[in-house]
Amino acid sequence: MQINPSEIDSVEEAGILDGSPVKLVKLKGGFWIGIGRPKGKMREEALSAGSHPAIVKYNIEKQHPNFQPSMMKSEFFADNTIVDRHSHFLSDDLRKSGHEIYSVQAGPKIDFHITKYGQNVATIESKINDKTLEIKQSVYPKEFVRAISGATIEKSASCGASKIRLEK
């Protein structure tokens, strides 16, 4: 992958992998790339990429158990962010075509991201309010309805919400 310096918006230290620094590069188009040098590799390479930095970091942690994340300056990388993957609710066809569903929680705010090969397809916003997950009405392709239902129920259960309400 070739990235010109003119395409880079910002670079941030994300942590250490096998003794080498891992950097998160934000491109001007809004795409994020995690770059590092895994053990045994001579050159730096893209470890993960996506439209949300917390998801990029989550995937680096999943794929490289030795990754030691550092405290992040950017609010995007706030270490209290909880990322969870819900892609098991997607149909085989959607999984094969590179789709994923993640939830990114920062405090009471929970966003569900539908992505395709790291690119954002749709975001469904929600928040936890008094043990209720309140979901803002969003537009997203209908083939994701079942998966989003599963993801919201799963996320509600994991954060102790007993009700789900769809806001009008």
Binding site: R85, S87, H88, F89, L90, S91, E154, S158
Partner: protein
């Protein structure tokens, strides 16, 4: 006082050496608070497939309240004997008719401590006059231990495990113990060891945390390890279920569709994760997943099926010992199904036949 007449009668018959199979079935009617034992890695007697153990207290199914027995047991710190500090004496117990039961009698402070638990169970279970802790063994093992000249349980390859309250093959409860320093029992052990003629080996060994030195230069007991291999059993199942991962499309059943190279059923996956806190904290989601969602989740967590298969087989080994036929049958028919199945049904089942056939071939 609740005396399990059936079990007592069975024990006497065992002592007579008349009908060990009958003893086995009778023994499974009552409950037994015991320290499970392994000898040379074997958990069960090869002759009648009864678990090696040291009884702490026997209970009667009809007259004794299991919950009361459990309540008493959990208040005691039931510390498994330290094999280094437990002297053994291969001996025989004579039945009333002069027949013989082969036992390894336990001596030393750990044996005394097992005796000391008895008063706590007053009014529950059997009061056996002159109760002396021992391990009843098959004649071949007894001969090997005797020929080896082993004086301590350690030398004979004996290990004691945390106490369990069992009803037949079913574990009702286990009793974790608080660790204690072996020095507390050191003095008592040396006294008994001296009586058994192994004082010379202990004379220069004040630190009881180390294994006592044998009195002579003889080699340690050479009890052969069981040919059973956990890994081999897993490979056998993998071979049967999916031709070692090549055919992973399982037919749907009324209990759901199996997953992966070991043919894990959804309930097995959920139960195994639920039973292990380390898995539950990491993969707790599986409890709410079913069908394709569960399969996808398993696929998204590579290696999880190996961990679950490994833990599930460990559970089956805990129930059914190291008999590949029984383990294979229980993998296919479940734990309850295996307990309810007659031995002939188990041995003639097609899955058992496959296990027998593959187990000797796989590596």
């Amino acid at each position: 006082m609740g005396l399990d007449q059936g079990l007592l009668r069975a024990m006497i018959e065992m002592e007579k050496g008349e009908d060990e199979e009958k003893y086995k079935s009778k023994a499974q009617e009552g409950s037994d608070l015991m320290f499970p034992v392994t000898i040379g890695g074997l958990t069960h007697r090869p002759d009648i497939n009864v678990k090696y153990h040291t009884t702490i207290r026997l209970f009667d199914r009809k007259d004794d309240d299991q919950s009361k027995a459990h309540d008493t047991a959990r208040k005691l710190n039931l510390v498994p004997p330290n094999p280094n500090e437990t002297a053994i004496e291969p001996t025989t117990l004579q039945g009333r008719d002069g027949n013989t039961m082969h036992v390894l009698r336990l001596h030393g402070p750990h044996s005394e401590r097992i005796k000391s638990y008895q008063p706590h169970f007053k009014g529950q279970g059997q009061d056996i006059p002159n109760f002396h802790p021992h391990i009843t063994v098959d004649k071949d093992t007894w001969n090997k231990v005797k020929a080896s000249g082993a004086k301590t349980a350690k030398e004979a390859g004996i290990e004691f495990h945390p106490a369990e309250l069992r009803h037949g093959d079913r574990v009702i409860s286990t009793y974790p113990h608080k660790e204690e320093k072996s020095e507390q029992l050191d003095k008592g052990f040396k006294h008994v060891a001296a009586g058994l003629g192994i004082a010379a080996g202990l004379a220069g060994a004040p630190k009881t945390s180390e294994a006592p030195t044998p009195a002579t230069t003889r080699a340690p007991a050479s009890i052969p390890l069981s040919p059973y291999s956990h890994k081999k059993m897993l490979n056998t199942i993998e071979q049967i279920e999916s031709a070692s991962g090549k055919l992973q499309h399982h037919k749907p059943t009324k209990h759901g569709t199996a997953y992966g190279k070991y043919g894990l059923m959804p309930d097995t996956i959920k139960e195994t994760v639920h039973m292990h806190p380390d898995l539950r904290s990491k993969y707790g989601k599986v409890a709410t997943l079913q069908g394709q969602d569960l399969n996808n989740y398993m696929r998204d967590n590579p290696g999880l099926e190996d961990v679950i298969a490994d833990r599930h087989l460990q559970r089956l080994e805990h129930h059914f010992g190291q008999d590949p036929s029984k383990l294979g049958y229980s993998w296919n028919q479940g734990i309850r199904g295996t307990y309810h199945a007659k031995p002939e049904k188990i041995s003639s089942h097609p899955y058992t036949q496959k296990v027998k056939s593959f187990y000797s071939k796989v590596k």
